[in-house]
Symmetry: C2
Subunit: 215 residues, 2 copies
DNA sequence: TGTACATCAGTGAACGCGCGTTCACTGATGTAC
DNA sequence: TGTACATCAGTGAACGCGCGTTCACTGATGTAC
């Protein structure tokens, strides 16, 4: 990484923490450069204006999140071939990873930005929508795979259930912060896991794969 | 209501909409008075400082919310004596009420404030925590009543499940905004209803009350 | 290997504007006697 | 019923400070020939 990129990342780190605890509009360039140890013009070398900072934050956050999801559910896929188990194990692993963060999840940038969308231009707002749509799609795929293999006890729309997962995650990050209890996020990931489990409890395997049958 | 109170409510209305779409820090007193048609000193007659405005917003929001919860689940209690049905019907009614809002839920003040807590003093932060604790307590009571009557298929902690409800609500308000789909909140209220239903599917009634037995 | 030039990663000063808060003051309404 | 006083619901002007953005400039590093 070139020196400029290091500075850029440093600015983004400082900005992200500030935005998650005070909001974007009230996070001043002045405070960022004070903490980063550069001048204001140094900041404007990296970001054309403040909106560009928002874009930078969002892109980086979305990438980090995608990597995490892929790691966790990728690991689950290594452990089993059964699509339902993959989802259940993935949620377990996710809960473990989130439980391992000492101060809890630092906050969802997409959530705050959604509550401040009047501050951003069309571009950034579209990116927020797109990011969330991506998350929903990720879980929808997992759920559809499970639905293709098993028939659930009650009718389920894969997309609705995928949204439930996203809602629970974003909601429990807020609850955890509001209550000062970082444990709420892992706890709630296990609750949504229970929901999925109950949905498929005693379900009939539609397509029998040898591995799934053995398990 | 005295004239002063009308003005105060008007300020709160304008401020709430602004806070939910831009954030508290960036909502200026200047814009509020411009829309309300008073002068700056008029504002400071009603609120000692900006933090007092936050307090006013929060108190009012919490009261409105409590009233809504009591209406919805009070109505459910009128319709049935069975504590499980009360919870299930209440969630249904809640979904209906939320589905009836043409532009969807305007946003949860507690959620934004949680993501901006560095802006507020100890007082306001404590009020946020207390408000959320109150919501959790409300649902915990309902769930405990159901647990006292029926044994669920899987072990459930009433408080965890109560938190799930709160997480889903706050999370789906965000998802609805981010996706531009107001329908997500009612949809997700029905998902959490499904979770409760599955938990108690085929459950044994522990204490038989005549009405519940008839139903 | 030396030299010219380009790009990178910034510096420093200035700008105009809007912000939250304070202060001394005021007309209309309500209340006590 | 009249009068004095208090309270309510504001007005108007001023304050100092921090904000985002622009501009002309610069030293260090990289690249072409």
């Amino acid at each position: 990484m070139r020196k400029g990129n290091e500075t850029r990342e440093k600015i983004l780190d400082i900005a992200e923490a500030a935005v998650l605890s005070k909001g974007f509009g009230v996070t001043s360039i002045e405070e960022l450069i004070a903490e980063a140890g550069i001048t204001k013009s140094g900041f404007f070398y990296h970001f054309r204006d403040k909106n560009e900072l928002a874009k930078g934050l969002l892109v980086r956050y979305a990438e980090q999140n995608d990597r995490l999801l892929e790691q966790v559910f990728g690991r689950a896929a290594e452990l089993t071939d059964d699509p339902l188990q993959r989802l259940l194990i993935g949620l377990n692993l996710f809960a473990e990873v989130m439980g391992g963060l000492p101060d809890g999840h630092p906050g969802c940038l997409v959530a705050t930005m959604t509550y401040q969308d009047r501050l951003f231009d069309r571009d950034v707002r579209a990116m927020v929508t797109e990011t969330v749509t991506g998350w929903n799609g990720f879980f929808t795929d997992l759920i559809e795979a499970a639905l293709a293999a098993y028939s659930p006890r009650e009718a389920v729309d894969a997309e609705s259930l995928a949204r439930t997962i996203c809602c629970v995650i974003d909601g429990s990050i807020i609850m955890a912060k509001a209550l000062g209890r970082p444990g709420v996020l892992p706890e709630q990931l296990l609750m949504i896991r229970q929901h999925v489990k109950l949905l498929f409890a005693g379900a009939v395997l539609r397509v029998v794969s040898p591995e799934a049958a053995a398990a």
